[in-house]
């Protein structure tokens, strides 16, 4: 067990590699209850969301969710999050577990200039269970009347799962098709067991924090605290797609616009280790013999069977094919910049 933001969480159940492969080829079930939830409601909720997040929330229909940044005036991250539109004037943020207290304080400060918006930390009202992998739809459909085939990526709906009130969201953090299911905490065990039972024949297994990390890295999804934080800008993190340039003012807009005009000095890249070694979070990166940064995330992935990672490099050296070195416990291992993501799920 590992303590994650005060929660006891399993790193693995049957084994990290088995769980990782199960999600890529069948499905895996994750308990991600430690994720935080904050709800904003009121006439001015949209304006407040637009001000404090980078993506354009006005483009969300009710029932739709988007990935976004909770940004500082410098265009860096207080956190990254999913923004759900529950109703025209009612939004739900899903935020990272270690950041809940910090984020709530930040959000309360940000809504000050807005008149009618209530902010409530609803983290304790939801358990969050993620079913991820190609069998997700088939397995979950046996437990709900909601027509899951009609639920597009990044849309959500309310209904029942295994007899429990649930919000079913077609989102995830694995690069695989799947669902995140919000249920009342008192129903969590029942829903968890019902999904495992329904998936047993298909080889659905419980999956821990270890596989969650290797899966998200294969899919090049950024991890707050590793790949992004309040020192890395949205553009440096190569996430311009979550910048709502057309929506007007928001925290960090001016700083990001200036970076775009002047050009970035550094940007995140994906890399593969050429030598037999694994680069891990915090290892030093060397360019032409000089220290040029650190590895933000790194592992060897059970599916691609390669040592991969992400790091910030000077902008002139971010082209795929660029070679650099990583200090792996005193030995220099050769690395090569590759395009992101490392893994893209086959369509169909």
């Amino acid at each position: 067990m590992e303590v994650c933001a005060g929660w006891d969480m399993p790193v693995e159940y049957s084994g990290l590699s088995d769980e990782h492969m199960a999600v890529r080829t069948r499905a895996g079930l994750f308990d991600v209850t430690p994720m935080g939830q904050v709800e904003l409601a009121g006439k001015d909720a949209l304006a407040a969301v637009q001000h404090m997040t980078s993506n354009d929330a006005s483009r969300l229909d009710v029932g739709q969710a988007q990935y976004s940044g909770l940004t500082t005036p410098a265009g860096t991250f207080v956190d990254d999050l999913l923004v759900y539109r529950f109703a025209n004037d009612h939004f739900l943020y899903v935020i990272n577990a270690p950041n809940v207290d910090k984020d709530v304080a930040w959000i309360l400060e940000q809504v000050q200039p807005f008149g009618d918006v209530a902010v409530v930390d609803t983290s304790s009202r939801y358990a969050l269970i993620a079913l991820q992998g190609p069998l997700s739809l088939e397995v979950l459909q046996t437990l709900t009347d909601v027509n899951l085939s009609a639920l597009e990526y990044c849309w959500f709906t309310h209904g029942e799962v295994a007899g429990a009130r649930a919000t079913i969201s077609r989102t995830g953090y694995t690069g695989e098709s799947g669902y995140e299911i919000f249920v009342p905490p008192q129903s969590a065990v029942k829903v968890w067991q019902a999904i495992l039972q329904a998936g047993r024949g298909g080889g659905v297994v419980p999956a821990g924090l270890g596989a969650r990390d290797t899966l998200r890295l294969e899919a090049a999804m950024r991890l707050y605290g590793n790949d992004i934080d309040d020192t890395t800008s949205v553009l440096e993190a190569d996430l311009e797609w979550i910048v709502g340039w057309n929506k007007g003012e928001f925290n960090g807009r001016a700083a990001l616009a200036e970076q775009k005009v002047k050009g970035l000095s550094r940007r995140i890249v994906g890399f593969e280790i050429v030598d037999r070694a694994i680069a891990r979070h915090g290892y030093d990166v060397y360019l032409d013999g000089a220290k040029a940064g650190t590895v933000t995330s790194g592992t060897r992935t059970p599916f691609l069977k390669k040592a991969i990672g992400m790091a910030y490099l000077p902008i002139a050296r971010t082209e795929p094919g660029t070679e650099f070195e990583v200090d792996v416990r005193g030995r220099r291992a050769r690395a090569r910049v590759v395009p992101l993501p490392f893994y893209k799920r086959p369509k169909g």
């Binding site: 790193v11 693995e12 270890g210 037999r276 694994i278």
Partner: protein, 121 residues
């Protein structure tokens, strides 16, 4: 489970004092999960008891391998570095290096199979 003919360390290494060959225990491989790399020292290197002789790395973590006794490295299992996953299937058969003891009396400080089994309960 743990061969009676081996001695064991608190750091989850085993050593066969008859041959000086050593590796990591089945308990250690289970904790590490799928092993993907093994780093070993050069033959001829002298090591002190408790000093690092190499490392074994899984997807999850890298773990140092410590010398159970002081001595000189007389052999390394180069084949195992090519197929480190063998350790997951047969940890007690997967020797990594052989150490010629500097002081055979040091072995008295190591655990026997029953003591090691107790440690990992």
């Amino acid at each position: 489970m743990y061969p009676e003919t081996y001695k064991y360390t608190n750091d989850h290494e085993w050593i066969d004092m008859a041959t000086g060959r050593m590796g990591v225990t089945d308990y250690a491989q289970k904790q590490l999960g799928d092993i993907v790399f093994l780093e070993l020292p050069e033959v001829g290197k002298t090591v002190r008891k408790g000093e690092q002789v190499g490392s074994v790395e899984s997807v999850k973590a890298v773990s140092e391998i410590f010398a159970p006794i002081s001595g000189t490295i007389t052999e390394i299992n180069a084949g195992l570095t090519e197929k480190p996953e063998t350790i997951n299937h047969d940890a007690h058969g997967s020797w990594m290096v052989a150490i010629k003891p500097a002081d055979p009396a040091e072995a008295k400080g190591l655990l026997d199979a029953a003591q090691y089994a107790e440690l990992t309960k």
